[in-house]
């Protein structure tokens, strides 16, 4: 199925994806109001329902959504910089010339400063600080100027533990590729393992990140895998280990 006919049901628009694009480009739909994340979610749902990934259409989708994102981010920022990008060669040359003249001016000034600095070579100044008893002010506070009770109260407040803030409502699971890499390397260390073993009891996000970690291991030449049949067990083994037929 082509990406153009992807059906969308969004707050501001219902219909196929290509129509949405046309309307956005004709400015009949305001990009400000369009939640691009919803479009992405709709696409992911669509992918899920298809059950297979068509690289061609996925690429097309990424290109289009990236273009929309760029358009939107440009809209969100003020549009002044477009004028800057679009200057004539002679304007650009004037600008550059002014900068070069500036740079030249201060390079010459720097030479002058170095001459001054060199002329002062061999001149030394008294660098010792005044003896403590000669200074007009001392750092010591007058006796009794600080109330011990105030200090006690301040420290007391620091010792009080604030209530723990609950993070339960935040749903974003934090799984890093680095974490999963360590996990996989640990398993590899013991020999071969199946992918299912590596993600026993893990949530979807962890499984996805583990796939990335596995690809990373493959890229670094640390691990290989084989899979006898579609949707079958994926058996992972270290590269140094001689390849055996799974099962």
């Amino acid at each position: 199925m082509s990406i153009a006919s992807l059906d969308l049901d969004l707050d501001v628009f219902t219909g196929p994806f290509d129509l949405l694009l046309t309307l956005v480009l004709r400015e009949e739909i305001d990009l400000f109001e369009l939640q691009l994340a919803d479009v992405v979610l709709a696409y992911l749902d669509h992918l899920e329902s298809c059950g297979q990934l068509d690289l061609e259409s996925a690429t097309e989708f990424i290109v289009l959504i990236a273009a929309l994102l760029e358009l939107k981010s440009r809209l969100l920022l003020c549009g002044d910089d477009e004028e800057l990008l679009d200057i004539e060669p002679d304007e650009a040359a004037e600008e550059l010339l002014a900068r070069m003249l500036d740079a030249r001016r201060y390079r010459a000034a720097a030479t002058h400063l170095r001459e001054l600095f060199d002329a002062e070579e061999g001149v030394r100044f008294r660098s010792a600080p005044l003896a403590a008893h000669l200074r007009r002010t001392t750092a010591e506070p007058t006796d009794g100027s600080q109330d011990p009770a105030v200090l006690g109260e301040s420290i007391g407040r620091l010792l009080h533990m604030p209530a723990v803030i609950s993070l339960r409502h935040i749903l974003v699971p934090r799984v890093s590729v680095a974490e999963r890499l360590t996990h996989l390397r640990g398993l590899l260390h013991r020999g071969r393992f199946t992918f299912d073993e590596a993600v026993t009891g893990a949530d979807r996000m962890t499984v996805a990140v583990t796939v990335f970690a596995l690809l990373e291991l493959y890229r670094r030449g640390e691990a290989r895998w084989d899979q006898a049949e579609n949707f079958g067990d994926i058996s992972v083994h270290a590269v140094s280990e001689p390849l055996r037929v799974a099962g």
């Binding site: 040359a93 740079a103 000034a109 002058h112 170095r114 030394r124």
Partner: protein
């Protein structure tokens, strides 16, 4: 001993004690004399400490007066303290310092824009050596820099007004015209997408 000679002695002693340059007002306040009397005493001391007459010189630097050694004693001082001059200036540091000196207060991004290359390491070193110091923040939150008294002292300047007008180093109109011409040719060639045509 006359009053003025006594005042000159007092001021000489104060100058000896202070590690920082002292202004006639500060000296007068401390010696319980007017600023004018202090200035007159300083003039007398300046004469006594004229270059060549003593091992010390009285210098007007960084908004005040201070004693400095005669450079003639530098070799001996190095043997005694076995420490040469505190530091040298690299071209990048000198350029950064010049930009700060003339355009202060100025932020790092502005220095970088003028130099065309990053000024980060140079300005960090200048900061560490106390030649420049922080002077608040710009409206965009960038730290602003200015030169401090140490800069004036080490470069033999009484104040920033002692710096010559920066416009004196501007290129001549002919040089500017030539530079502009070259830039324009390069710009047009780039706009056409071709190499620079030397015949054009």
């Amino acid at each position: 001993m006359t009053d003025s000679a006594e005042l000159a002695h007092t001021i000489e002693a104060l100058l000896f004690l202070s590690p920082d340059p002292l202004s006639p007002r500060e000296l007068g306040d401390a010696a319980q004399a007017s600023e004018e009397e202090a200035a007159a005493a300083l003039a007398q001391l300046l004469e006594e400490y004229a270059p060549g007459s003593r091992g010390l010189r009285l210098r007007e630097l960084a908004g005040g007066y201070t004693f400095a050694t005669d450079p003639a004693s530098e070799d001996a001082a190095r043997r005694l303290f076995s420490r040469p001059r505190a530091f040298t200036l690299t071209p990048a540091q000198a350029e950064t310092l010049a930009i700060v000196a003339y355009l202060q207060p100025i932020s790092r991004p502005e220095i970088t824009r003028i130099r065309g290359v990053s000024a980060d390491s140079a300005s960090t070193l200048l900061l560490e050596r106390g030649l420049i110091e922080e002077a608040g923040r710009s409206q965009f939150g960038a730290v602003l820099y200015r030169t401090g008294n140490l800069f004036l002292k080490l470069f033999g300047l009484r104040s920033l007004d002692d710096l010559p007008d920066v416009a004196q180093w501007d290129p001549t109109p002919e040089e500017q015209a030539e530079l502009r011409e070259r830039l324009l040719r390069a710009g047009e060639a780039r706009a056409r997408g071709g190499p620079v045509d030397e015949q054009a």
